[in-house]
Each structure stands twice: as structure tokens, then as C-alpha cells.
């Protein structure tokens, strides 16, 4: 474990990105303490530019809502949805992959064809359809993103299981007479997981983007601030007051970039043999 951390820390970009992700998560979690303004309160002066009024350091939107508060609360929504969706996708995908890899034969065939079916539909379209039917709530957005993102982990785990199955330590476990379930969960899964974890980070990044795109299209919970919706609202005044779209856009860029770099770093750290010398 420490080995892993050391290897990870050697990659400066990944380390920095991890700090950014941690910082964002912390800021989102403590939004109320950090900046106690209500993100929905419409009282302030409208269309205040950033860095003018210390009461609203990042300015206000057309209804006079504080942009900083909305960004922080938007981060909370974005990150919650993204982590929950990526988590759900990873768990579901791993379970399917594990079952397919272990069972083999017809079950494997069936599960993989289902996976194929999901993979042929573009993820965003699937999410769009899901949210249109289930209604624009955070829960259905999580479900929608997970429904399109579980196929990656499923294929990954199945492939890992297939390649691990013939290894000596697995055979040793079989010879030692461990029950099948124990072999699956204690021997195979832990060894199949590292690439899945690295892949999960990519999933988080794409979940952030899908969530933003959905809320940009108006398919987000209208009761909560979200980055995508902020960009969409800012569009009406894009020429005269561009920062209203640029700020949430930057937040989005920073988050996706950082999460991706962490994923990259994890990938390198977990597969040292492939790492450059």
C-alpha cells in the first residue's frame, strides 16, 4: 500500500491533481461553513461582476444570486452525482464481470451480449432517455449515468479473471480446497481490481461531464444549483456578461482534468511494470 502511494506521489501532476480533487471535495462538503450565503437567495444586486464587491466575490447572476455560493453548491451536486454514479457503475460492472468470468459458457455469453447491447448505445443518449423518463432528480441522474458506465468495468473484470484463472496461485487455492465463492472474492477479485479502480476515475470524470450536459439541457433538479444549468443560464447574456458561463465552465474543466490526472496516476502506480523507468 505505501509502495503504491510512493509510486503515485512520484508523479507530480497526479499528486497535484489529487490535492485539487481533495480540495474540491472538501469545499463542496463544507460549502455552508465556507461561504454561508444561500445559493438560491435572489436578494443581491443583479449581474455584479467578479472581484468588485467583497460580499459577492465572484459576482451575481441575473436574479442577484451569489455565484460563489452557486459554484460551491454546484460542486457538491456534481461530485456527489459523479462519485455515486461511478461507484454504482464499478460495483455493478465488477459483479457482472466476475459472474461472467467465473461461470463461463452460456451465462458468460449472455452477460457479455447484454454488455454489448448497452455499449452500442451512446452513453449520453442512454442517460438522456433515462432522465426524461424518470424525471430530473439527482437520483435518476445517478442511475442514468451508472446505466451507461457499468459496461467498462464489467469487461475489464471479466478479462482479468480470464487471465488470472490459470495462474499458479489461483490453482494453488483450488488445490487447497477453498470454496468457489472464497476463491472468487478473496483470491481473484482483489487481484482483478487495480485496473478497475483506475478505470473508475475515468468514469468519475465522464460522469461529471454527463451530469453537466444533462443539466445544461435543463434535465437537472431545478431546486439545486448545478454547473451545467449555470452555463445554460449564462448563455442568455454570453456577449455582455461572459463570466457567468466562464466560471462554471472553468470549474468543470478543473474538476474533469484533475480527476482524469488522478486516474492516470493511479493507473501508472498500479501497473509499475508498464511504467516508464
Amino acid at each position: 500500500m505505501t509502495d503504491l502511494l510512493v509510486r503515485f506521489a512520484r508523479d507530480r501532476a497526479a499528486l497535484l491533481a489529487a490535492c485539487v480533487v481533495a480540495g474540491l471535495t472538501l469545499a463542496a462538503a463544507s460549502a455552508q461553513l465556507l461561504w454561508p450565503l444561500d445559493p438560491e437567495a435572489v436578494g443581491g444586486p443583479p449581474l455584479l461582476r467578479p472581484l468588485v464587491d467583497p460580499a459577492h466575490p465572484l459576482g451575481t447572476d441575473r436574479l442577484g444570486r451569489d455565484v460563489l455560493a452557486r459554484l460551491l453548491h454546484g460542486a457538491r451536486l456534481s461530485l456527489t452525482v459523479a462519485f455515486a454514479a461511478a461507484g454504482a457503475a464499478t460495483v455493478l460492472g465488477s459483479a457482472v464481470g466476475l459472474a461472467a468470468g467465473l461461470a463461463g459458457g452460456r451465462i458468460d455469453e449472455l452477460l457479455m451480449r447484454i454488455t454489448d447491447a448497452f455499449q452500442t448505445v451512446p452513453g449520453f443518449l442512454l442517460a438522456l432517455a433515462f432522465v426524461s423518463v424518470l424525471g430530473p432528480e439527482a437520483r435518476s441522474v445517478v442511475l442514468a449515468i451508472a446505466a451507461s458506465a457499468w459496461t467498462g468495468p464489467a469487461r475489464l473484470v471479466r478479462a482479468e479473471i480470464a487471465s488470472l484463472a490459470g495462474r499458479d496461485f489461483v490453482l494453488a487455492a483450488v488445490v487447497a480446497g477453498l470454496p468457489r465463492l472464497d476463491i472468487a472474492l478473496r483470491v481473484l477479485l482483489p487481484n482483478a481490481l487495480p485496473p478497475v479502480v483506475a478505470f473508475a476515475a475515468t468514469n468519475v470524470a465522464s460522469a461529471v461531464l454527463i451530469e453537466a450536459a444533462l443539466s445544461f439541457l435543463g434535465l437537472a433538479d431545478p431546486n439545486r444549483a448545478s454547473w451545467g444549468a449555470m452555463i445554460a443560464e449564462g448563455r442568455a447574456v454570453l456577449v455582455s456578461e461572459p463570466w457567468l458561463s466562464i466560471l462554471p465552465g472553468l470549474a468543470l474543466l478543473l474538476t474533469v482534468l484533475a480527476v482524469n490526472l488522478v486516474g492516470e496516476g493511479l493507473n501508472e502506480a498500479l501497473a509499475p511494470r508498464r511504467a516508464r523507468p
Partner: protein
Amino acid sequence: MRLTRRCLLASATAPFLLRAGAARSRTPHRGGVLVVAADTEPRNLNPALVASNGVFYVASKVIEPLAEMAYGEPGFTPRLALGWQGSPDGKSFTLRLREGVRFHDGRPFTSADVAYCALELWKKHQNLGRVFFVDLEAVETPDPHTAILRFAAPMPAQLIENALPALTAVVPRHLFEGTDPLANPHNQKLVGTGPFRFVEHRPGQYYRLERNPDYWDAPKPHLDGIVYRVLPDRGAIAAALEAGEIQLAAFSAVPLADMQRLAKLPGIAVIDRGYEGITYLVTVEINHRRKELADVRVRRAIAHAIDPSFVVERIFLGHAKPAIGPIPRFDTRFHTADQPTYPYDPKRAEALLDEAGLPRGPNGVRFSVELLPAPWFEQTRQMGDYLRQALKAVGIEAKLVVKDPAGHQKAVYTDHAFDLAIGSPVYRNDPAISTTILYQGGLPPGVPFSNQYGWADPAMDELIARAARTVHPAERAELYRRFQRIAAEQLPLIPVVEFTFLTVASTRVHGVADNPRWAVSNWAETWLDA
């Protein structure tokens, strides 16, 4: 395509000509093609069948109604009818029609066309006419230039007159008779009597109209033609105006915030007249099936919690007025200021809610509601955001539920699955056309933009029925003033602001907004600088 390029060239030089042109003379210049933005392409473009602003915007230049609205007294300009007279008992309405008018295919316009349209199109198929002309029994045509509408029950002449501009577009009988009117190809390839002829429609690209040289009001129109460029994206419309690719965008097609910026540019003007005849209201619609909201004190409290000036200033950027009742102030014939009002006063709102037995709970919340803002206007959506906060300030927790337009209509007007909604009803020049229906009880579910609120007051219903049958204009107006007072006292729905649209146009365009329905009128008087 050649046409478009020529227009582009012409408009590229516009900024330099602009001031000189404006100063030189006010005499209309003949010629030039006006290029305007269109944001929708209605499937059925026949105004005799579909009375809606989206259809009128294009079709009103080709197919004319019997009369048009005008500023000042008597409020009308004759079009296909020269004059009209109601009988004292209200059961007949005589129209004297213009002579020497020809349709674009050369055939003469006569009373037979009016009779056919009235009985077969307006009464049977038109969205507004189906309700409005329900008592129309027959149309007599004693000679080619007289038509007498006969009604089964008294119809106030004033009401019919007020409906002439929007409900009475005339298409040629010889092209429609004996066909299925809804499937007739002339619902797309329009034939009428108007100042412009329909040339072509390229879906997704443009509509093209050209001058009708045989127009009854020749030498009008001033323009050689009109091109409607289909630009569904609002940002693109603003950009096209700035670049001079189009010279006019009506119906607030440009975002309000962008409009302020455009207004400062040389050569572009923002015009807020020309829509009074189609004034919209922003209302808070209330579901009286919720027991808290059935209490009039709670409804008054909600009205006191709303600051109309915030809505005017922030959401409409000044292009609206606080509403006094459901009839806009513009219509001085019916509007009365003598009715209860509910000024912004959160303390009073809280007192009323306490009085209604709805104290704040331990978390500061009195009760929770679901709020459905109508999704069709940016402003109605923003009104939802605002109302949620305004209600929160007095202890009512509102959860926003945003649906697509069809889903919203179904939820509110069919399924009644809402507590509060933000609506945007239109006032169409007479309270009996689309306003009293918001207050009338006992309507079946599914009638859009009507009283689906679960509110019914026998006194109100009686008043609405009586006013609809009262022939004498002064008596009728008095009944509608009483209607407004009951509406304001009982407050079954809350009118918040009234608004009209804006036109953004190049200063080369003249004869804009010269009547209260300008965007949907015939543009015969509109002209371009040379």
C-alpha cells in the same frame, strides 16, 4: 439564394446610409425586400384554421381578416369588411364587404367566401372559433357584398367586433369546398387577398413572399417582398441582426438581456409598441384541491409575498408592468383600477398565514407545495425561481418541478398534478375570448389554459354567463368590471405582471408598430430606406 446574397450586400452598407436616410424624408420608399427572423415553422399555416401568433406572423401578410385593430378610436381599421352592425337582440350581425377584391389566383372575393369560412372553417375547426362561434347557426348572403351572421343565442356585437382581427381570416371557398380542410394543400401554399403573395417555403431555411400587384389598397404594399429566415436559435438571431443579415426580429426573439446591448448599437432600434392587442400576463395558478390553498387568506398571503416590481425589473428588465387584475390596463374599455390589490408586504403575508392556522413549524416551514413553472418562456421559468424564494421568506417551502411543454400542460390542465404553477395567459382584446375561461367553473379536464384549478363560484359563473349574453356595450363593460372585483377579492389565481413582446429592427425599417397587433398584421405600410 441570389436573393439572399443581394439582401446581404444591401444591408452591409446600411449603417452608413442610416442617418441620412432617416433625415431626408418620411415619404415611404417603394421597393426592397425585408428579411426578418422566424423561429418556428407551423405545420398548418392557415390562419382560418389555426388562430395563433406563430401562424399569423407569416400568414397575416397573405390572408387577411375582416378587420384589424388600430390605435385610438374606434379601435379598428377595415380590411375585407368595410362596416358591420349588430342587431338589437344580438342574434344577427351584418357585415358589409369590400368590393373589387381579388384572391391571388384571380378569382373575386365575395360573401360566399365569408359564409363558407365562418360555417365550415372557423366554427368547425379553428382552435378559438370552435368555442367562440358555437352559437353561429347560419350565414345569409343576400348579395355578393353582404354577409349576415345568424346566432342561436344573443351574441354581443362588441364581442364579435373584438374577435374580428384574430378569428376571421378569409381563404377562398373554391379551393377548400369539398375537400378535407385540415389536409388541404393550401394550408401550406397560402392563397388569400393580402398585400403579399406566398411564393415558397423551404423547410428549415426560409419563407418567401412577394408583392401582390393587384392588392385592393394599391399602390401598397411598399415592400417588394418579405423573406422569413428560419433561425431557431435565439443567439443566432441576435448575431444575424448585428451582422445585418436580417433587418427585424419580432416577438422578443432576442433574449431580453441581449436586447439592452443591441439597443445601444447604432442602426438598431428596440421597439416596445405594436403588441398591446396581444398582451400576456404572468400568473400564479393555484390548485384549490390543496386544503391550505383553498383558504382565501392563504392566497392573499401569497399575493402579498410577491414583489411585482422585482419581477418587472429583474426578470423582464423593465419590459413589463405590475398587473392589476386579469384585464390589462391597455384595454381601458374593460379594465378598472377600482379593485382590491395586494401590495408586496411579507409581514402582512405572515400575519395572514398565522391567522389561517398555518404557523411556522420547528424548521420554520408552514407547509410545502410543488411549483410548476410553465417552460415556454424564459421569464416564466425565472418567475418560478423567484417565487420559490419569495415563498420561502414567508415560511412556505416550494419544490420546483420543471417539465417539457406537453408534460406541463398535461400536469396542470388535465391531471391537476400541481399545487402552484406559473402560467402565461394571453388577453385577446375582449375578456370573453380567453380571459373569463380562467375563472369559469365546471369545465371538463383537459381544456388548456382554462380554470382547471378546482375553484368554482356560482356568483362568478352567473356573472360570466350574463356578460357573454349582454348586448349593450356599456352594460357589458360594467359586468366585466364586477368580474374583475370578484376575481381580485377571491383571488382564484394571482395575476403578477402584464407584458408584451418587443421588436428589434434595423433603423432602415419604417412603418413598424403602427397598430396594436403589428407583428401579426399585414405589413402593407412597412417600408425600407432606399
